[in-house]
Amino acid sequence: MSGQTQSDPAEPVIVNLGPQHPSTHGVFRIKVALDGERVQDAEMIIGYLHRSMEKLAEERTYTQNIPFTDRIDYLAAMTNNLAYCMAVEKLAGVEVPPRAQAIRILFAELQRIASHAMANGTFANDCGAWQTPLFHMFRERERVLDMFEMTCGARLTTNYMRIGGVAFDLPDELLPTLREFLHDMPEKIGEYHDLLVGNEILVARGRDVGKISAEAAINASLSGPMLRGSGVPWDLRKADPYCGYEHLDFDVPVGRNGDCYDRFLVRMEEVKQSVRILDQLVDNIPGGPWLTAVPLHLQAPIGEAYARVESPRGELGFYVVSDGGPVPYRFHCRPPSLINLTALREMTIGGTLADAIVTLGSIDIVVGEIDR
């Protein structure tokens, strides 16, 4: 297949992007057929990180499966914990106390800030703003991870949510730290806007690159910033509120052109909205228990449940089927990263190779979630 040794100049050159390449954000490989600099065809090859979690989960109890969800999307472990616990709660009819609901939103939004910091930082990387914005954003991500650590002892794979609530109550030092963080955030966000929004590099590399129309985005089941970047105001926190998002005041930012730059802007704006949500929440966390008493070896009644949340990458859903036994009969994760890649081929064909890198960066994939 190596086209470089071919004598026929019309033969496309096949280039492998990845699996080990900084711009593929993990072990993800795209095989592109190039005519000069233009992409003629792009085929993604995945499975390098496949751990068969759905099979493993069918052999472990409902509670034992929570740590798997951390490792599905390791950049948004809290959100994944939440979605899975919500699915099991729906299946088993477990009520979650109000304090746990508030704590769940709190950590889901902190996780969104951390995840979008990573997404936008690496997107700037892919555009050519090498490392500086990423490390600026890591500063804020670090503070979020410190808060995770002081609450549950882990920074990345948190394993914090439980069926019926959360594992631990908030430590005394968390809310002061969070208030300080929220006090600093507007200034930091302003700094990022000055640095990145309208930045010549990002506009030149992202504007009109990797475009997708609203109709095509809906038909391809895209979700999250990918869908909102195309101008569809669809956010599950508004459309199908869970954990009490309906009582919170926030906006759903949308893009206009559906290009990479718009997706970047949507993520920047969502960080602002997350700070807004946390501002409303930080002084209004209700008292009471943070975990309902649920048997450790929970046996859910026969049935099925699909619960979904708005993860930083889009609609994250868990479909759990019970046959009445101690383990789920079927455990399925609807991975937003994988489904958002449905449109990758269409978005990259006809553009340049360098644009394909930017397009992939704007999708914000997590390979753990693609491969599971």
Partner: protein, 196 residues
């Protein structure tokens, strides 16, 4: 709040538009006949009152005698969700029509099910293995695939193509790529309790 559509209310309309398309309407799900799946889903998508323009989620469940395909269809403008199902009755060589001509979003989700469950989607433009390599024996998410030792639900002791030897295959070790795994003759189709 997303409204969950009642299949009992939709079934008569669908039956009028596409006769013989509804298999059952029990359990909160609208189960469709696989033969007329394409026309029925097109009706659900294009009907202005239903407007189910987005395939929110697609997966399958192995019920050991047959496979059940699960589709969550979503309307973004009207904000409602319909749980649709269909069945693949042949457990040895299951096949159902592909939804890729209707929803582009089915492309990778169907490929995943082909890879992990071995369900063939008729009309899918690119039905290949996705996570596992070509020639991997069997489909891991099937219930008769090997179970891990020491866990709560016991499966077969080894890979289906092997004769009692429990060893992980290596790429290239299987001579006939794509050949369906042979079912062991005397193996129980349902695990007989924990083997731990």
């Amino acid at each position: 709040m997303t409204a969950i559509l009642d299949p009992g209310a939709i079934a008569p309309r669908l039956e009028a538009a596409v006769p013989g398309s509804v298999r059952s309407r029990d359990g909160g799900a609208l189960t469709l006949q696989p033969e007329s799946l394409d026309a029925a889903i097109r009706f659900l998508r294009d009907d202005p009152e239903l407007d189910l323009v987005c395939l929110a989620q697609l997966t399958a469940v192995d019920w050991e005698t047959h496979f059940e395909l699960v589709y969550h269809l979503q309307s973004l403008d009207l904000n409602h969700l319909l749980l649709c199902k269909t069945v693949a009755l042949d457990h040895e060589a299951p096949h159902v029509p592909s939804l890729t001509p209707i929803y582009r979003g089915a492309l990778l989700q169907e490929r995943e099910l082909f890879d992990l469950m071995g369900i063939h989607f008729d009309g899918h433009p690119d039905l290949r293995r996705m996570f596992l390599w070509d020639g991997f024996p069997g489909h891991p998410l099937r219930k008769d695939f090997m179970g891990m030792p020491g866990t709560l639900r016991a499966g077969l002791p080894g890979f289906p193509h092997e004769s009692g030897v429990n060893a992980w295959p290596v790429p290239g070790s299987v001579s006939a790529p794509g050949a369906p795994p042979a079912r062991p003759g005397g193996a129980p189709s349902r695990p007989q309790g924990p083997q731990t």
